[in-house]
């Protein structure tokens, strides 16, 4: 029976991903029970950063494209959501708002991705940087409809009665609006991650990786490079759109100051910290981004620093963590963990490998056992 379960676990990709997502969601749900409003808002922030970072880690980690414009893509999602939830009229169903936000961002992402597919490295970074700089400007230019510097306020509907009832029935407490938003954000994150994980583990993800690692070889295998790159950009743009909508729900405001270049850079650092190409790593990065600065600030105040000095401590520590990770674990947190596992597995596999190979091989093995003990190179960051 355990063997059968094991096989089921290995074979059913979708089931595995959904199960992990459900367990994760349950943990968040329990956590939300115990925390106050402030923490709930923090958890929402972590969720929308995590969604955007998840999309970006797929783009950068699996397809090798860098984007400095994901903050701008989030802005497009957030503004779309804000336009659909104007003041005093909160009748549009939220799932529809999210869907439209994703679609609008997807449309913009497709256009950007089509241009990006022709660019490499620093040129791609430059082009997406232009997006990050230009989009907040658009909000200022169309001040009439987009609210200019002040931005657009988002009016959130009340927590639906069924959710209130369910909460009361299960725990005997009232569900706050922040808790409700956090729950929505984490549900969106769970759905997004399941879909991204499916892609990553399936044919599409493998083709993305092939394009990343070897253009010529990928083409020879019948993969069209341009299409593959555009599709990766579209997927990550869609995730950024969903993240933007969740940001609008959480902050209840879509304003240019929320989508500066810093946001784009922050997302990229989260992805690098966590480990390129790893969804778990993206979530770790988002958690660091959300919780490390307030934590450091409070430690600073406890140590007797003035509030101003304590606040200055946060970016310093964040920078130090970044430098430490890049020096000590260039593959990121999740990447290092995986590399360690592979190294261990290689050590185990090395001794019996040549024997097994010559036993099974019809043409014999050419390699000498001594040469196959070359250890896994540490710069190979398998995904």
């Amino acid at each position: 029976m355990p063997a059968k379960l094991q096989r089921l676990w290995r074979d059913s990709v979708l089931g595995r991903h959904v199960l992990v997502a459900l367990v994760g969601l349950l943990v968040v749900l329990l956590l939300l029970e115990t925390v106050n409003d402030f923490r709930a808002i923090q958890l929402s922030s972590m969720a929308y950063l995590g969604i955007a970072a998840g999309g970006l880690t797929i783009l950068t980690g699996l397809n090798g494209q860098i984007s400095l414009g994901h903050g701008a893509l989030m802005a497009i999602g957030a503004y779309t959501a804000a336009l659909m939830l104007p003041d005093r009229d909160a009748s549009t169903p939220l799932p529809l708002v999210v869907l439209v936000s994703v679609l609008v961002t997807l449309a913009v992402g497709t256009a950007v991705g089509a241009a990006a597919a022709r660019l490499h490295g620093p040129y791609l970074a430059g082009a997406t940087l232009a997006l990050a700089v230009a989009v907040p400007g658009i909000a200022l230019y169309f001040g009439e409809t987009l609210g200019g510097e002040q931005g657009l306020r988002v009016s959130m509907p009340d927590v639906p009665v069924w959710a209130l009832d369910a909460e009361y029935l299960l725990t005997g407490t009232e569900m706050t609006r922040s808790g409700w938003v956090a729950l929505m954000a984490w549900t969106t994150l769970a759905v997004t991650y399941v879909l991204l994980a499916n892609l990553s583990r399936g044919r599409v993800g493998r083709r993305w990786r092939a394009v990343r690692d070897g253009e010529v070889s990928a083409e020879l295998a019948g993969i069209r490079l341009g299409r593959s790159r555009v599709s990766a950009f579209m997927v990550s743009a869609a995730a950024a759109g969903a993240a933007g909508a969740m940001l609008a729900f959480t902050v209840r405001l879509a304003a240019p100051s929320g989508f500066t270049l810093t946001l784009s850079l922050t997302l990229l650092t989260a992805v690098v910290l966590g480990g390129l190409g790893s969804l778990g790593g993206a979530l770790v990065g988002a958690a660091l981004l959300t919780f490390l600065p307030p934590f450091v600030t409070s430690v600073g105040s406890d140590a007797g620093l003035s509030d101003l000095r304590a606040a200055e401590l946060a970016p310093l520590v964040y920078g130090l963590v970044m430098i430490a990770v890049i020096l000590l674990a260039p593959a990121g947190i999740a990447g290092s963990f995986r590399a360690w596992r592979i190294r261990r597995q290689a050590r185990v596999a090395v001794a019996p490998a040549p024997v097994a190979a010559s036993a099974t091989g019809t043409t014999g093995t050419p390699d000498s056992p001594t040469r196959s003990t070359v250890p896994t190179s540490s710069k190979g960051t398998p995904t």
């Binding site: 074979d11 059913s12 990709v13 979708l14 991903h17 879909l195 499916n198 892609l199 583990r201 399936g202 044919r203 599409v204 993800g205 493998r206 083709r207 990786r209 092939a210 990343r212 690692d213 070897g214 010529v216 070889s217 990928a218 083409e219 020879l220 295998a221 019948g222 993969i223 069209r224 490079l225 599709s231 592979i342 597995q345 290689a346 596999a349 490998a353 040549p354 097994a356 190979a357 010559s358 099974t360 091989g361 019809t362 043409t363 014999g364 093995t365 050419p366 390699d367 000498s368 040469r371 196959s372 070359v374 250890p375 896994t376 190179s377 710069k379 190979g380 960051t381 398998p382 995904t383």
Partner: protein
């Protein structure tokens, strides 16, 4: 004998039993003012191994690149199984049942050996974006099939033990086999091998020769190679290039005794009456 699946597939050039699976006619390529190939013609016949040899700079690699769409010739036509191909793009190659290996191997370094080979088998996959996104049962089944197919090729080449390893951690001969496995996983009807023996020891080269011979019941092979003994051993026919022209063509024995070939390899100046006579793709080059 081969563990590879789908026994129906290996019937290259089913329609034309005797016609060539690939033919290059009168191909000329110039880079700037330099003529890399001039009026070259050759034909790969079903279930045969065609070798392309020649001294350094003779145009072997350019010829190979023309055959697989990396280089567009100035003039000349490429005919695949009696169908003339227009402008050929590299990504169309797999769909035409052609696979090639690269001199630099071009392995996907951050993908496992198994995944490398699965990419080679990708042309047999049909699941689209949505199927992948939702991990539909059909997609999962296809993934399993592709992986089994890739595993079978790894078994056949005796490198199944390395399936979960990553290429940078493997010795060169194994990596070469991975590259070959990736090409074979596509189950091509025509395999193009670019310098398959470079960097191999004598023993390994013998094994490679046996392997290439064993492939001919499933596909035709065209190979570019420096190592004469390997070429002489595995090829049914050999085309010899020098300075972008075909100077000889024939069986290994014929080519070996051809004075034009000897001259080209030993660097002697060929007599004036020799060179023009050997110009186009005359079946019996040289004289």
């Amino acid at each position: 004998m081969s563990a590879t699946s789908s026994p129906a597939a290996p019937s290259p050039g089913a329609a034309s039993a005797t016609g060539p699976v690939l033919e290059l006619r009168d191909v000329t390529v110039t880079f700037g003012g330099v003529t890399a190939l001039s009026g070259v013609g050759l034909a790969v016949r079903p279930h045969q191994v065609l070798g392309v040899i020649g001294p350094n700079g003779a145009g072997k690699t350019t010829l190979f690149n023309v055959a697989c769409g990396f280089v567009t010739p100035d003039t000349g036509t490429i005919v695949r199984e009696s169908r003339e191909l227009g402008r050929l793009h590299a990504h169309q190659l797999a769909g035409l049942g052609m696979a090639r290996t690269l001199q630099g191997l071009g392995l996907f370094d951050r993908m496992s050996v198994l995944d490398n080979v699965v990419v080679g088998a990708d042309r047999h996959a049909s699941v689209g974006f949505l199927g992948s996104l939702l991990a539909l049962p059909r997609a999962a089944r296809e993934e399993r099939e592709l992986r089994e197919r890739a595993r079978a090729v790894l078994e056949e080449l005796g490198i199944a033990a390395y399936a979960d390893r990553y290429p940078p951690s493997l010795p060169y001969p194994v990596r070469k086999r991975v590259a070959l496995a990736r090409a074979l996983a596509a189950e091509p009807t025509l395999l193009l091998l670019d310098e398959p023996a470079s960097g191999l020891s004598a023993d390994e080269m013998d094994e490679l020769g046996d392997l290439v011979r064993s492939l001919t019941d499933r596909m035709s092979v065209m190979l570019v190679e420096h190592h004469m003994d390997l070429v002489m051993r595995v090829c049914d026919e050999i085309t010899v290039l020098d300075f972008g022209r075909v100077i000889a063509h024939g069986t290994p024995a014929e080519v070996r005794d051809d004075p034009a070939v000897l001259a080209a390899y030993l660097g002697e100046v060929v007599g004036d009456e020799d060179a023009p006579g050997a110009l186009p793709a005359t079946p019996e080059g040289g004289r």
